[in-house]
């Protein structure tokens, strides 16, 4: 271990933390309001794709993030209408969204760029790092923004009337309804916030961190984010801790694969399982203590 390696791993972990934390924070807000969505994987996929398109059209990575957010919101509207207004199942739409995500991006890359499975994001459409060294280590402004988002989300959830109402409609919508809190509106808003954050995370994958769109770009991060949300007890600030842990192993797998002297000793496939294995172990160790919002995933209908 030398300092360069430590620096590289640290910065890499922070970079890998961003999409997981943004999605976890969103998912926590949505589930605090009582809406489950397992379609974040699909949102990450589609917003990585549409984020790239908008970024390349505007020659600006930040516009790409906006494009990602809008993609997320569009999907969120579908999920929100089905779950919040039509009182449908909370899990099934996500299955469909994920399928559309994986199929749609593979299709879209071919249809839009004419390449199979992968597209390199144009340099002028990528977000410039805050800092970079000669070895390619870099720090994205999105790392700072993500940390800020986690703190702001915590503050809004626990210190403001908006947050109180979000939590109330997820814990006891009946009580909230009786006091004039519009349950459907707050639940729907929470879904949109979650999908927007996840959309930004997806665009970050392509126009910032990885600089490419592939047909498997989300690579399970949508689900790792859900695991992280449980791990952090639906708390945005704690999700930073979990996000760093997951980010570390996510990045470690990439790091080891890129270092032949390490990769030679163990099959790379074993290392690639690390983030998923760690997620499983962490979640298995944590559950039991964690307590989900009481009305999480349950449609609310008035008597």
């Amino acid at each position: 271990m030398n300092t360069g390696m430590i620096l590289g791993l640290t910065l890499g972990s922070l970079a890998a933390m961003v999409p997981i934390v943004l999605t976890s924070v969103g998912a926590a807000i949505s589930e605090r309001a009582g809406v489950v969505n397992i379609g974040y994987e699909g949102i990450l996929m589609l917003s990585a794709f549409f984020g790239t398109i908008t970024a390349e059209l505007a020659h600006n990575g930040w516009v790409g993030l906006l494009g990602g957010a809008l993609t997320g919101i569009a999907i969120g509207i579908v999920h929100g209408v089905i779950t919040v207004y039509l009182k449908g199942d909370h899990v099934i739409p996500g299955i469909g969204i994920n399928l559309i995500g994986y199929g749609g991006v593979a299709f879209g890359i071919l249809a839009y760029w004419g390449t199979a499975g992968q597209h390199q994001v144009a340099p002028n459409a990528q977000i410039k790092p805050l800092w970079m060294d000669a070895f390619g280590n870099s720090l994205s402004p999105m790392v700072v923004i993500t940390i800020a988002v986690a703190f702001i989300a915590w503050w809004v959830l626990f210190k403001t009337p908006f947050g109180l109402r979000i939590r109330a409609v997820g814990e006891n919508p009946e009580a909230a309804d009786a006091l004039g809190v519009n349950v459907e509106l707050y639940r729907f808003t929470a879904v949109l916030i979650a999908s927007a954050l996840s959309g930004i995370a997806g665009a970050y994958l392509s126009v910032d961190w990885l600089g490419t769109v592939t047909k498997t770009i989300a690579a399970g991060r949508g689900f790792i984010a859900l695991a992280n949300m449980v791990f952090s007890g639906w708390d945005p600030i704690l999700s930073l801790v979990g996000g760093l842990i997951f980010g570390f192993f996510d990045n470690l797998a990439i790091y080891i694969q890129n270092n032949p002297w390490l990769a030679g000793t163990i099959p790379w496939q074993f290392i690639a399982t690390l983030p998923y294995l760690v997620t499983l172990l962490v979640v298995a160790g944590i559950i039991g203590r964690a307590r989900a919002p009481k009305w999480d995933g349950i449609p609310y209908k008035r008597e």
């Binding site: 009337p161 109180l164 109330a168 814990e171 006891n172 009580a175 309804d177 009786a178 004039g180 008597e303």
Partner: protein, 508 residues
């Protein structure tokens, strides 16, 4: 009567539910400012329906509501609250993990959806309210950790914080001990002195006599009459409430109990939050005996039943059935050994609502030989025959054995449970809240059936929050308070006052 104009008038209210049930048949009530108005009636008379209409939770089929001189149409409770009508339900609507403060200010937190909640200011306002009423509520503790009496005060504060003029209380004493009832009445009197109008819904004559100024009695969705409480007697109100209809009277001949069938020794059981819900109970139930357990709900009855029915771990102590130690046995073993269990929660435990009538008819006995064919598969023909037998014998009204059980009415669902449990041919029957939320005819049927089981020398453990039920049916009864028996008595050798004291934690 008086020339004053009422602050609130509900005129000719009719409510027909979508399934055709007529809950209200043209009810008119008038409530005057600054009075405590009693709404008296039996379970199912329509009191709660009427108040839910007033509070914007239900839409009336016909009729008008006038409040403070103008006609109102409340679309939601929030509408009603905004106009100054508040309601405290029998089952509280509190966010359990929120503090009292959060529960109270929810939806009325102050300015700015995204600005910091002004906790200090809210607390100051609440402190003033509490001082005026001379009671205290811990504002910073999650309400799930507070006793029901305090939770009720939080519900009242929630309404007062919104400056309601009219406060509806639906059976507010059902969950309270006698001491808590006294304290509640003090609060109500103070509110009245402040000029608030209170609607007090109850079926308890003494309470209505004690606290109300006027009382309207309703029966089967109709107003029977309105009297000034000072002119009324409990006897008069009772006649109005029950009418000439035959009161549920259970034919119970004396019966000599046999040998001990069921015995519990120093039983300790933990509740969901890890507290000691049952604390060292010992009792026995004999063949040919109904042993009743009364008490305010939430004093460990549910945990006791679950522990002896194999649904909750026993911390300490032993349970015996016909001399055999059955502590810690699973439900399936218990049923095979001769226990039947009518659970207190019909819709969440006793039945699987989405499954068919016949599938429900074998819950807890589906493994028995009599329902299998030669291939060891379930023989649905035999199951259907069994279901039809239950339906015939208990006169259950069911649209068909293959329809989901949720298509049955509550009373028929409960009859199906009782029928099924009895068909297990048990020696010992646990009957928990056997007639809760059940129509009068079914109630009578079920109660008579429990007596019949006793006469057939079965041992019956009856647990009910309905004191009358326990008094009528039991041969011996215990009153449970905070996980212990305050006394074991014979129903005909005990006064109402003694029972009241025991329910409030005074041991006899």
């Amino acid at each position: 009567m008086e020339e004053r104009t009422p602050v609130l008038e509900m005129r000719d209210i009719v409510k027909v539910y979508s399934d055709g049930t007529r809950a209200l048949n043209g009810v008119t009530i008038k409530v005057y400012k600054g009075e405590i108005f009693g709404l008296l009636g039996e379970n199912g008379a329509g009191k709660t329906t009427l108040m839910k209409i007033l509070f914007g939770m239900l839409k009336p089929t016909a009729g008008k509501i006038f409040f403070q001189g103008s006609e109102v149409h409340f679309k939601s409770p929030a509408d009603a609250i905004a106009r100054g009508i508040g309601m405290v339900h029998q089952h509280f609507t509190l966010v359990e993990v929120f503090t009292a403060l959060e529960n109270i200010i929810l939806g009325k937190e102050g300015h700015g959806l995204f600005s910091k909640i002004d906790v200090k200011n809210a607390k100051k306002k609440l402190q003033t309210l509490m001082d005026e009423l001379n009671f205290q509520v811990p504002l910073d503790v999650p309400v799930e950790n507070l006793p029901v009496g305090i939770q009720q005060r939080i519900e009242i504060l929630k309404m007062l914080y919104r400056n309601v003029d009219v406060l509806i209380l639906d059976e507010p004493t059902a969950v309270l001990t006698p001491i808590e009832v006294k304290e509640l009445f003090d609060v109500l009197r103070k509110l009245k002195a402040q000029g608030k109008t209170i609607i007090f819904i109850s079926h308890k004559l003494n309470e209505v006599m004690e606290i109300t100024d006027r009382v309207t009695v309703i029966r089967k969705g109709k107003v029977i009459g309105t009297v000034n409480t000072s002119d009324a007697t409990p006897q008069l109100l009772a006649r109005m409430m029950v009418g000439r209809d035959v009161v549920l009277r259970i034919q119970k001949k004396p019966h000599k109990p046999g040998k001990t069938v069921f015995r519990v020794e120093d039983l300790w059981v933990k509740g969901d939050r890890g507290e000691d819900a049952v604390r060292g109970l010992s009792f026995e139930v004999k063949a040919g005996e109904i042993f009743g357990i009364a008490g305010v709900e939430g004093n460990g009855q549910s945990e006791l039943i679950e522990a002896i029915a194999g649904l909750r771990d026993v911390e300490k102590g032993r349970v015996y059935l016909m001399g055999k130690d059955i502590t810690g046995k699973k439900p399936r073993e218990l049923y095979d050994m001769g226990i039947a269990h009518i659970p207190e929660d019909r819709t969440h435990m006793g039945l699987i609502l989405e499954m068919s009538v016949m599938e429900n008819a074998i819950l807890g006995m589906y493994w028995r030989r009599e329902f299998s064919n030669g291939w060891r598969l379930i023989d649905w023909g035999k199951v259907e025959g069994h279901a039809k037998e239950l339906i015939d014998e208990f006169e259950i009204v069911a649209p068909g054995t293959r329809r989901p059980v949720k298509s049955l009415s509550g009373g028929n669902q409960q009859k199906l449970i009782v029928a099924r449990e009895v068909s297990k041919r048990p020696e010992f029957i646990i009957a928990a809240q056997p007639t809760r939320g059940v129509d009068v005819a079914s109630t009578e049927y079920i109660r008579n059936y429990l007596v019949k089981l006793r006469d057939e020398d079965k041992a019956v453990l009856l647990v009910s929050a309905d004191l009358d039920e326990v008094l009528q049916l039991s041969d011996r009864m215990a009153i449970m308070y905070e996980g212990q028996f305050m006394g074991v008595v014979k129903p005909d050798e005990v006064t109402e006052e003694q029972i009241g004291l025991m329910m409030g934690g005074v041991s006899q």
